[in-house]
Amino acid sequence: MGLEIAEDDSLKSGGYDSLMGRRRLFILAAAVACVVVFFVDLAVGSSGMSVIDAFTTLVMPGQATSMQRLIVFDIRLPATLMAIGVGMALALAGAVMQTILDNPMAEPYTLGISSSAGFGAALVIVLGISAAGAGMLYISIGAFVCSMAACAVIYLIARFRSSDKTTILLTGIAIFFTFQALLSTLQLMANGNQLSEIVFWMFGSMSRATTDQFVIVLAVLVASSIIFLWNSWRYTALKLGDAHAASLGVNVMTLRRMTLIVVSVLTSVAVCFVGTIGFIGLISPHISRFLVGEDHRYYIPMSMLVGAVVLIVANMFSKVVTAPAIFPIGILTSLIGIPFFFYLVLSKRRFAS
């Protein structure tokens, strides 16, 4: 207020500073955890190579055999990197979706973006385009095109129905069921080989990830996170409700539409390489909110870090649970996610903020 404010008296509100300090500490801890699980994941695998050998290969690649280098750097590293990229991307998408739609259940999966990608992939598989050598590429393209189409439908309906958040959510759910039904139809039409391909897609997998794919995911991830972080104060204001955000000067409709477009590209890129992975986009923002609160300067990066940690851990388990076979990572995230989610919902505990 304009009542004579002495510019020299010190700030009385120490509570806010200590809160921010605590949040920074949580972010730092999550970043450390991310680095730790990254290395552990590289050391773990189904090849029978000992953890100690794996660590030596990592730290001193020069002294390792070419076989050991192949396992660690060419087989495990791309999968682990992809787990980081996709984990962060899905968590980021879920985090901002929950904010703009004001709904704690919103994430790429519930809005049908993941299932439309799954349908796109299945369509390519059943049409037999994947018979050629570049099969994986076509499948990814099919998945990307379909999920973008689903997003376009959501976006257009939002555009013509005044960006109302309930409309967006209901459209997403309708899309989810539509593509789920279409996918089932395709499964009926598929032959044995195609069916196992489709199933591979439906449950998600990091095992076919390549470094090139990771670079694409990373590029989109960096661009989107910059855009989202740039708007972090506006998102925080939006948490108070549309009317209050608008009264503070936020153009709610524009923000919602812009976010929807960026989220579409981000999610489509994330799911088109690895298939359907649910729950990451749902639980990561919740954990993040418990740890660092609603301030999106902390909530956004924290969600990404949690998403990365959870998906790396899931990747690790997928290699050891049924070794030497790889257990589908999408099933694992659900198995980890569902009980944890129940715990979050049922215990009203809040850790920080």
């Binding site: 700030l11 509100s13 204001a237 009317a243 608008a246 609603e294 301030d295």
Partner: protein, 259 residues
Amino acid sequence: MTLKVEGITCGYGGKEVLHGVTFSSDAKLIAVVGPNAAGKSSLIKCIAGQMHHGGHVSFKGTEIGRQEAVSADMVGYMPQQHMNPVSMTVYEAILLGRLNHIRWSPSQHDRRIVDHAIHELSLDPIADKRINELSGGQMQMVSIAQALVKEPELLLMDEPTNNLDLQKQLEMFEVVRILSEQRGLVAMMILHDLNMASRFADEIVVLSGGEVYAQGKPGEITTQKMLRDVYHVEADVVEDRDGLPHVIAYGSLDEGGRT
């Protein structure tokens, strides 16, 4: 004229609720009164540029009534509905009032303004409390503080006295009055309590059925006739010790209100 409202029309889904609202005023403290669903909130939303509307609004010669005026902090607007009960602290929520000035970290200046508002509205004891743990009145005070730290030239408040106890209401009026004297703030408030409106406002605008019924000084506005025409109540108007009109209501004149 400081504030000029000319032929404002607006509606929801094709149903018009304001049928050309026109008034202008030089007063610093304006109260808008009228029965439920008269269109008070709609009018203030139009002035704040939060709603599509026909007609024009100008303030000190500048055309307002657009979102840009809010974004530029010329106009502050406090909505009637509560904020969502999220797990933000009171301090964080009030700080959001400085949204248009904050790039990444809030500056010392922004922080001082927030500190000051918190102190001025006696919110210090709850500054670090989460807003989902507040009482209705505390929540209302946070909303008010958030609107004040914006430091607007024109402050529009939709029922700011909701949920507030008597002392808090008077405190809130006092803070706004001081701001209007010191900084030339013009405040327009929607109020239901006619006695409070008389006490606070230099000028009262009575809205009824989407139109201006009357506008003027409290003494001219608050009459038995107005209470009968607009509110359909039977009442006496007496003078208090400051010569301000005081309403004593006896009962509703409508069938439904009689038992």
